[in-house]
């Protein structure tokens, strides 16, 4: 049944692809600030985004060609998202939202390339992004509304006695936002790549009958491309929703 395995062990280690390796060891006063493969792929992602956007917008034709169309479609999609979810006041935050979306999108997609490393498949990366967004949005809320920002946790029109139950629930739900935001992206990316590696292992393990897991792997890879784009979109639109909560207080 399982041909080709020497001692019955699985031919690939599914977790090895997530290992962070130091490329350039940098030690600053005891702090390990090495340039890792994760950092390398973040740099590649930013370089790819910059190169793509610069190339796509270099021909400023009124009727866009294919490459310029892609950048214009991306711009318009995110601009619509910001306008619909945050309103006209959200225009100031559009560059940040656009950069966030493209960073995560290119990060996810570059991880799908066979030799690529998915830097968004590490909880520390996604959690840091989510906590920065959370703290920024909270500060924006307090700057705009002062102490009135706390009205977010007590919906209007609710009877006063429900405040005892409602406010802690709303507070916990608010504090769980960075957790769910980061965990969703991290878990989708890690689970997807883990699944692909496991199916690749099955393909190697089963010899000629490995065509079956290979077919499943093709389907899973197609699904993972969808998930890569979708998760970047979801992260961005939820950021816009949280920003709207802070600016417009529901």
């Amino acid at each position: 049944m399982a041909e080709g395995a020497q001692n019955g062990s699985f031919p690939v280690d599914p977790l090895h692809q997530f290992e962070v390796q130091r490329l350039v060891t940098v030690n600053v006063g005891g702090l390990d600030l090495s340039f890792t493969n994760s950092a390398l792929w973040m740099v590649i992602s930013v370089a790819a985004i910059t190169g793509f956007m610069m190339l796509a917008t270099s021909s400023r034709s009124l009727v866009p060609g294919r490459l310029q169309s892609i950048s214009e479609i991306l711009y318009e999609m995110i601009a619509n998202m910001v306008r619909q979810n945050v309103g006209t006041e959200g225009r100031a935050y559009f560059p940040f939202i656009f950069s966030l979306f493209l960073f995560i999108l290119f990060g996810n997609l570059l991880g799908m390339v066979p030799i690529g490393f998915t830097f968004t498949s590490h909880l520390v990366v996604t959690f840091f992004m989510a906590i920065v967004i959370f703290i920024t949005v909270t500060i924006i809320g307090f700057v705009r509304h002062g102490a009135g920002f706390l009205r977010l946790f007590f919906p209007e029109g609710a009877p006063l006695w429900t405040a005892v139950i409602l406010v802690p629930i709303e507070l916990i739900s608010y504090l769980s936002r960075p957790v769910s935001l980061s965990l969703r992206l991290f878990a989708n990316m890690m689970a997807g790549h883990l699944l692909m590696k496991v199916f690749a292992g099955f393909t190697l393990l089963m010899g000629l009958a490995g065509v079956v897991p290979l077919a499943a792997l093709v389907g899973i890879t197609a699904y993972e491309f969808l998930v890569a784009v979708l998760q970047a979109y979801i992260f961005t639109i939820l950021t816009c929703v949280y920003l709207n909560d802070a600016i417009n207080l529901h």
């Binding site: 965990l183 969703r184 878990a187 989708n188 689970a191 883990l194 979801i234 639109i237």
Partner: protein, 74 residues
């Protein structure tokens, strides 16, 4: 009980959490179909938002998968 056996059982039990997520994801599209059956003109407007509902619900299934993997390999 051996630790390996307990891990296997724990991981299997953790994946039961996906039942709810499966029902939820099915709900998203079943309501979408019912809505466009009643009002075909709303197809594009609702169609843009079902992906958000799908991703947020699927996240719960992924959380359960993460717990299963943590139990199995952690």
């Amino acid at each position: 009980m051996e630790i390996e056996a307990a891990r296997m059982i724990g991981a299997g039990l953790a994946t039961l959490g996906m039942i709810g997520a499966g029902v939820g994801v099915g709900n998203v599209w079943s309501n979408y179909f019912a809505a466009i059956a009643r009002n075909p003109a709303a197809k594009d407007e609702i169609g843009a938002n079902i992906w958000i509902g799908f991703a947020v619900t699927e996240a719960i299934a992924i959380f359960s998968l993460v717990v299963a993997l943590l139990v199995l390999f952690g």
